[in-house]
């Protein structure tokens, strides 16, 4: 099996796809396991939609190989692939009822109609659309249309379900509900889900593993926690959640701790990253929720601290969002939970000590 584990659902090897002169997907190698919820995350133009279309079979790679469930997909058209796609705009057939839409794939497969009826009913029940089977798509709400699209794909029991920005057209409240529902659905049916999204929160919430793409390349693959807490590059760090950063130069490395000199601030400490050498230019990054604000300087050497001025204090219910100005005039964001109602908040214009544990920072090579 040349190194590919038996539980692989999708294997992409060195896949390249060009559109005219632009390289949409650039030497992409990726293995997606059976039964996992895999998200491909990236900004628009990162090649994530092209990757999905290559898997669906609407486009053929210029180079490289794709295999799904152990079958090479070279030259296999979409209608003969064991995958189904949930389109971004749902692409429901407007001249067919909900039930006819859902039955379409089974009819095309040539299933006897005695089997189609129960399968359609089962699929509609799964997405809670019982009683709407005779409506036209135009008579449904956005959320209902999305569930029809899901049912229309899942009724075929594909090996892999592909989802193109599945929640993009829904309003925020509905999106949060569907994130949970989609994940629950995937766990129930046990099918491999591959979901393309530009929304990092969506990707983090729903996926078992995710890949971050940029300019057609795969930057990092890992669990949501790995990607969030240990981003491999400055792009990943800034694309996944908000990140604060300081540019500096590595002055010394002692064991697992690096000392970085930052112009206008002084020395800060951070855990070393792979391949780090003294003298290298690096970015020290730290998540806003890992920062603490205090009126008193730290006495404990395990913490980094910088004296800052509060530029803005924003009350957002569960937490306070602070914009703080560093001595080198960079602006950072800090989030402090409002868990302790008695703690005194900071006001704009106040001075404070910004602190963080050395282990909470991430060093990224520039």
């Amino acid at each position: 099996m040349d190194g590919v584990s038996a539980d692989a659902s999708i294997v992409m090897r060195e896949v390249t796809k060009r559109h005219g002169t632009t390289v949409a997907v650039d030497h992409l190698s990726l293995t997606i396991r059976k039964g996992e919820f895999f998200a491909i995350l990236g900004p628009s133009g990162s090649g994530k939609t092209t990757t999905l279309r290559l898997l669906a079979g609407f486009e053929q790679p210029d180079a490289g190989e794709i295999s799904i469930e152990g079958q090479p997909m070279q030259g296999v058209p979409p209608n003969r692939r064991p995958v189904n796609l949930v389109f971004q705009n749902y692409a429901l057939f407007p001249h067919m009822t909900v039930a006819q839409n859902v039955a379409f794939g089974l009819e095309m497969k040539g299933l006897p109609s005695a089997e189609i009826g129960p399968r359609v009913a089962e699929a509609l029940e799964m997405v809670r659309l019982v009683g709407k089977q005779d409506r036209l798509p135009s008579q449904l709400s956005g959320g209902e249309q999305q569930r029809v699209a899901l049912a229309r794909a899942l009724v075929n029991r594909p090996a892999v379900l592909l989802l193109d920005e599945p929640l993009g057209a829904l309003d925020k409240q509905l999106r949060l509900e569907m994130e949970v529902e989609l994940k629950a659905l995937q766990e129930r049916v046990g099918i491999t889900f591959v979901c393309v999204t530009h929304d990092q929160e969506e990707a983090l919430t729903m996926s078992d593993r995710l890949a971050v793409m940029h300019h057609g390349r795969l930057l990092q693959v890992g669990t949501p926690e790995e990607i969030y807490t240990a981003p491999a590059s400055a792009f990943v760090a800034s694309f996944i959640g908000v990140s604060n950063s300081l540019p500096g130069r590595v002055q010394a490395i002692e064991g697992q701790r690096a000392t970085v000199a930052v112009e206008g601030i002084g020395l800060v400490h951070a855990p070393v990253c792979a391949g780090l050498r003294a003298g290298a230019t690096v970015l020290v990054t730290i998540r806003p929720e890992r920062l603490h604000l205090s009126r008193d300087p730290a006495t404990d050497g395990s913490q980094n601290q910088i004296r800052v001025r509060i530029a803005k204090a924003i009350y957002s219910g569960s937490e306070m969002h602070y914009l703080v100005t560093l001595p080198n005039n960079l602006t950072w964001k800090a989030r402090v939970p409002n868990a302790d109602g008695t703690a005194k908040r900071f006001d704009a214009g106040e001075s404070a000590y910004l602190k963080w544990r050395t282990t909470d920072a991430v060093l990224l090579p520039e």
Partner: protein, 282 residues
Amino acid sequence: MKKSIPAKSFPWLVVPPAAALIFLFGVPLLLVFAVSFATRGTYGGIEWTFTLANYTSIADPLYLRIFWRSLWLAVLTTVICLLMGFPLAYVIARAPKRWQGILLFLVIIPFWTNFLVRTYAWMFILRSEGLLSTMLSALGLTREPLTLLFTDTAVLIGLVYGYLPFMVLPLYAALERLDPSLLEAAWDLYARPHQVFVRVVLPLSKPGVIAGCVLVFIPSLGAYVTPDLLGGARSMMIGNLIQHQYLVVRDWPFGSALSFVLMAGVLAALLYYLRAGGARSL
């Protein structure tokens, strides 16, 4: 912000077109209707004696054959235009945006020249020593000169040529609105290309198909210039028969009756189309 002007504040704007319709269309129509029940005078005038003879004499096999041929040619023209126009409209609708305008422009370009002149051009192409016959024999495809001109085939060619754009334009409008992701969705759901066409493309372009068929069928049925020039005396259509009654035989009452039977036929066909495709399609 400017307020939009409600249409009902200018009721008098409706007066000129309404008056034009009543005096230039409604009144002559009533007049023709009245004449169709009158009697032909001895020297071609109209005698106002009521008779149904004009309508009953249409049942003459000679005239019925002309009606039948007209209907047959119009149906054939519509079917051929649909079969030729659909792929053409599809290709235009799927072409890159900047090409669509140019291609549509090319479809409309023949309208820049007078229809009569273009029909004369077809006479030159179709006659026995004409362009088509010469080319085919030069290629060794035919031994004897082709005699196409003054046949039903020549009329059919002329009608298809003349009315194809009327089929392409509404079909284009319908196909251009067709969301390409619907075709991909069908493809993804195991449909083979011909199934994608039958189950998705065709039903969703039905309004365009119906509009195109109506726009081709009606003028084909009443065509006059094309059968007159390309068909000659043996391939008469209703339009030629009516003209013949008015101007040659000078039997205005019979010509009027023929006109009304033609109108009734068109109306019946139109109602059938509308029922088949739903009223919203026109």
